[in-house]
């Protein structure tokens, strides 16, 4: 088993438009999906959400406001799952609720540091 980082990208404007009640409705599929991963003992870290605002630091002490290239591709959060291969990790990401709202999941294997 290896650990894989799942990076959730979506349109940053989407969350901002939600009412608290809609937010509640959005949360439930996430709990179901993560609960399902956890029931398979494949959730390694329940991760975090990220604030939409950010800054980008470039050489020469240049600091610009994020987000970056495309608001539509803003990173909304991440989790870490356990899988036997990159293919399995991608398969497990198919039910991720981010897909239902036009977002996507980037799947990357975590390579532990050699110390």
């Amino acid at each position: 088993m290896n650990d894989f980082l799942l990076i959730f990208r979506r349109d940053a404007n989407f969350d901002a438009q939600l009412t608290p009640a809609q937010m509640q409705e959005v949360t439930k599929p996430w709990q179901d999906w993560m609960g399902s991963l956890a029931a398979q003992n494949k959730l390694a870290d329940s991760g975090n959400r990220l604030a939409t605002d950010g800054k980008v630091v470039k050489p020469g002490s240049i600091i610009t406001d994020g987000p970056y290239v495309e608001v539509k591709e803003s990173i909304g959060g991440y989790i870490v799952i356990r899988a036997s291969s990159l293919e399995e990790a991608a398969e497990l990401s198919k039910d991720c609720p981010i897909l239902a709202t036009g977002g996507n999941v980037e799947v990357r294997q975590i390579l532990p540091m050699q110390r």
Binding site: K28, Q31, D32, M34, G35, S36, A38, A39, Q40, N41, L43, S46
Partner: protein, 411 residues
């Protein structure tokens, strides 16, 4: 009370008090002395009470004898005096002045401090539970062996090694300071939780003993609630969980000690008093931002005290199992989540989720669950899973139940 019942009864209630107070006096490294004095005291009681008439206040008699034995020990044991008496609290100038305080307050303090001394991550959990049963609950070695489905020799060895380890690490019988208390409390609560579960879920056939394990876990938990510094939300949440579970004591076992499943329980046997206590402590536990597994499990247990089945109930239970699993995986939580999913959203959706739990393929409960889900949808598959469950279980009562299910399905 008959005299032949009196001494075992007093042993259960007073032995642990004498030990806790004496051990605090002598220090953990000399806990054996405290145990010997307590045992000698009961030996003397059983020898003399039979010959003469009973003392008017048997508990006070025991305390006096234990105190005198402790003072004698301090006075006469030269080695002990040299090595230890000087280390015992500085204020003790002469052994005659030693104050052995067996008041309720001193006993409770001693028991609390002893709880923190025993519940240390440096000894295995089952050794912590064993020591708690012996020292904090006054259980005999044979009873502990019975509870663990083990033998006296193994338990004696286990407890001896654990005490050695605690001695080597120079464990003190004292209350942790406020900075450390949360971390130390986690271990104490886990031990109480496991002690309760040992009673609630153990396969030991001795139902009285099992119930007593649960009640002891509740008594110790309640001591923590009564103490201001440890009366924290997490402590209340665990107590609430125990109350809800304990409310089903009378309903969950038949007269032969066999488990009656939740769906088949006579809910008029549920204890309303304990249910309302559980609710009271759940509310007390909800103060503050911390949401622990005890909070989640207590809330699930709360929903199970609601007799009426409703989609709302099961959707709540499902979401709670999701939270519990995200916090910490366990096979039981994975199975229960799937059961709740079937109740909330139907068997078809639950079957898809259940088939993903391949890590549980050698767990008989997993196959029992799949059989339950397939019943009425695919009888052939239901039967296959019951047969797998039958092969995997070792428990005879469980086998009988599965065989009954197979018969029902075949007819």
């Amino acid at each position: 009370m008959q005299q032949d019942q009196l001494i075992p009864h007093l042993y259960r209630t007073e032995y642990r008090k004498i030990i806790a107070v004496l051990a605090r006096l002598f220090g953990f490294e000399h806990i054996q002395i405290a145990e010997d004095i307590a045992s000698d005291t009961f030996l003397l009681a059983s020898e003399t009470w039979g010959k003469t008439r009973l003392p008017d206040n048997p508990a006070a008699w025991l305390y006096t004898v234990a105190k005198n034995k402790a003072k004698d020990y301090l006075k006469h044991n030269a080695i002990f005096n040299e090595k230890v008496a000087t280390q015992i609290k500085n204020e003790i100038q002469q052994t005659e002045d030693v104050e052995i305080d067996l008041s309720e307050e001193s006993i409770n303090d001693s028991q609390l401090q002893m709880m923190f001394a025993i519940c240390q991550p440096l000894i295995p959990a089952e050794a912590q539970i064993g020591l708690a049963l012996r020292i904090l609950c006054g259980f005999g070695i044979d009873e502990i062996a019975d509870a663990f489905l083990s033998n006296k020799e193994t338990i004696n060895k286990r407890l001896f090694r654990a005490k050695e380890k605690l001695r080597e690490q120079n464990v003190k019988i004292e209350f942790p300071d406020s900075k450390e208390i949360n971390k130390r409390l986690d271990t104490v609560l886990l031990t109480l939780y496991l002690l309760f579960n040992e009673g609630y879920y153990s396969s030991s056939g001795n139902t009285n003993l099992r119930r007593e394990l649960c009640l002891e876990a509740m008594r110790l938990n309640y001591l923590l609630i009564q103490n201001h510094a440890t009366d924290l939300p997490i402590v209340n949440a665990l107590f609430s969980l125990m109350c809800f579970h304990a409310s089903r004591f009378d309903a969950r076992m038949d007269k032969d000690g066999e488990i009656i499943l939740y769906d088949d329980q006579d809910s008029s046997l549920w204890n309303d008093e304990l249910i309302s206590r559980g609710t009271y402590y759940l509310v007390r536990g909800a103060k503050g931002p911390q949401l622990t597994r005890y909070h989640i499990e207590a809330t699930i247990a709360y929903w199970h005290t609601q007799k009426q089945d409703s989609p709302e109930k099961w959707d709540n239970v499902l979401q709670l199992y999701n939270k519990l699993l995200i916090l910490e995986y366990s096979p039981m939580a994975a199975l229960n989540r799937t059961y709740a999913l079937a109740k909330a959203r139907g068997k078809a959706e639950a079957i898809i989720e259940a088939e993903k739990l391949t890590q549980l393929a050698d767990n008989h409960l997993y196959h029992s669950l799949l059989a339950h889900l397939y019943t009425g949808i695919d009888q052939q598959k239901a039967l296959q899973h019951l047969q797998s469950a039958l092969k995997l279980t070792k428990n005879q009562a469980e086998k009988n139940r599965i065989k009954k299910n197979i018969e029902e399905l075949e007819n």
